[in-house]
């Protein structure tokens, strides 16, 4: 594995190995010394052409815990805002000797373009491209679900996960549907028809328009942010009506299975897709998702950057 662009590129075995690696790395994060020498001398660039808090900081923390050098680069305050192209930016990064570029971009397929081009030789990690994919988020969500609910199993067989809300604009939903179903979970998308993308029938999941019908028999519920910045037209009559039909509130929390968990990739619109008491309640693992994000991203960086892919394991006595 050289790049991480899409969940489609990784097999179930790869995904489980990323989760297992993250699990071991999480113990390091819990220990007294949080820093490891593993990626000393490697340069990792955070290329964020779109706003982000969690993902950028999380990748930065992960890289620093593995002793890599991190260069942060965001569109605001860089030449991207002067209209510099992705190609010129990439060539600049290559000239500076970047071993990996973590890219967040508003255009779907930007990460793929960067990886396929000959503009730079390092690894490319997709940290969210338009409405396409956000693989590291899906991996951290799967990690969180596995930790709470798999009862020691390495995959998610037999678990049922609902993903609720703005599926149309959500790269998190797409990556999660692909990954969770790959790991054996049953996924059901719950949204008004206007917020489901075309071609949704081909996704490996079920569809429902009724949250109350679904909520009592899922093990995890993932609320998606209503992405107002991507909405140019009316997708639902008003915020109150959306909350009433598709928002998570304390009544719906009570209808859930006793051990079920509440997730949100953040940032939350409190009061729109999730009420404050649901977001802060005992079932919520939303803050833990952020912690797990660092472990998952350490695992991704370790697996992509530590080895030379051409040489296979053969020594036993070294």
């Amino acid at each position: 594995m050289k790049h991480l662009l899409s969940i489609n590129d990784i097999s179930k075995v790869d995904a489980i190995s990323i989760l297992d690696t993250a699990q071991e790395l999480a113990r390091v994060s819990d220990g007294p010394m949080k820093k490891l020498p593993t990626l000393r001398g490697r340069t990792i660039v955070n290329l964020f052409a779109e706003d982000s808090t969690r993902t950028r900081i999380s990748f930065e923390a992960a890289a620093k815990r593995l002793s890599a050098d991190v260069i942060n680069f965001s569109s605001k305050g860089s030449s991207i805002s002067k209209g510099e192209s992705l190609k010129d930016t990439a060539q600049t990064l290559q000239a500076m000797g970047a071993d990996a570029v973590i890219i967040r971009h508003s255009a779907s397929g930007a990460a793929q373009r960067l990886a396929d081009s000959k503009w730079m030789s390092g690894s490319v990690i997709n940290a969210g491209d338009g409405t396409h994919e956000h693989p590291s988020q899906a991996l951290l969500d799967a990690f969180t679900i596995r930790k709470h609910l798999s009862k020691g199993a390495t995959d998610l067989t037999g678990l049922r996960v609902a993903i609720v809300g703005d599926v149309l604009h959500s790269r998190v939903a797409r990556s999660n549907v692909l990954l969770l179903s790959k790991l054996g979970a049953q996924v059901v998308l719950v949204a008004p028809p206007t917020l489901l993308p075309l071609g949704i029938e081909s996704w490996p999941c079920q569809i429902s328009y009724d949250l109350d019908e679904v909520i009592s028999n899922v093990d995890a519920i993932m609320m998606l942010r209503i992405q107002i910045e991507r909405m140019s037209e009316m997708y639902f009559p008003n915020a109150r009506e959306y909350s009433r039909y598709f928002g998570l509130n304390s009544d719906r929390i009570r209808a859930m299975k006793p051990e079920a968990i509440v997730m949100h990739p953040g940032p939350m619109n409190r009061g729109l897709e999730i009420t404050a008491d649901a977001a802060d309640g005992a079932r919520s693992v939303i803050v833990e998702q952020v912690t797990n994000g660092v472990s998952i991203r350490m695992a991704i960086l370790y697996l992509l950057l530590s080895g030379n892919q051409e040489i296979t394991e053969n020594g036993v006595n070294s």
């Binding site: 007294p32 370790y302 394991e313």
Partner: protein, 177 residues
């Protein structure tokens, strides 16, 4: 391929190492055994059982994964991480005995010393290995050795333990020296 250590010899070597560890440290009270996964972890467990049988008291035992501290990470395919389990009393001020199956270049042990340094400051660090096959690339030696096996660099030493491999033996593979 030749048989260097059959199962009964492995058992005898581990019993002797257990006695030597106790002798050197005047008992088991301050000892912490740390096995280096995978086979070192199983050997540490066996040494811990032997020490408990000899002394009648339990001994601190855990595992130390050194993968993230290796100096050859860039030359090999990424390796899966193994669990690190530090026993309840930690390593601070303890006499830590690292346990591994084969001592070869010494690089694994260097990485283990680095990994250990991240966890705390032991009073002393000692090294027990089942087989020392020579060809050191670093100034590292073992305190307790099951058997010194003179080998040529082209050969490889394969350890099979019944917990993992079904068989229990140490083999030398490759051209005879």
């Amino acid at each position: 391929m030749s048989l260097a250590l059959p199962a009964p010899d492995i058992a005898r070597a581990l019993i002797r190492i257990s006695h030597e560890i106790l002798e050197r440290n005047s008992g088991s009270a301050n000892i912490t055994l740390l096995g280096i996964p995978t086979r070192g972890a199983h050997l540490a467990k066996r040494i811990a059982f032997a020490i408990e049988a000899i002394e009648g008291t339990s001994v601190q035992m855990g595992t130390l994964d050194i993968t993230l501290h290796r100096d050859d990470l860039r030359m090999r395919a990424p390796r899966a991480l193994m669990p690190t389990v530090i026993p309840s009393l930690g390593v601070e001020g303890r006499d830590v005995v690292l346990v591994d199956d084969v001592l070869f270049s010494g690089r694994t042990i260097r990485a283990a010393l680095d990994a250990l340094g991240e966890i705390g400051r032991p009073k002393s660090v000692q090294l027990a290995v089942l087989v020392d096959r020579g060809h050191r690339q670093l100034p590292i030696r073992a305190d307790f050795v099951g058997k010194n096996l003179p080998t040529s660099i082209e050969q490889s030493v394969v350890v099979h333990l019944r917990e993992l491999d079904g068989a229990e033996e140490v083999l030398i593979e490759g051209p005879a020296s």
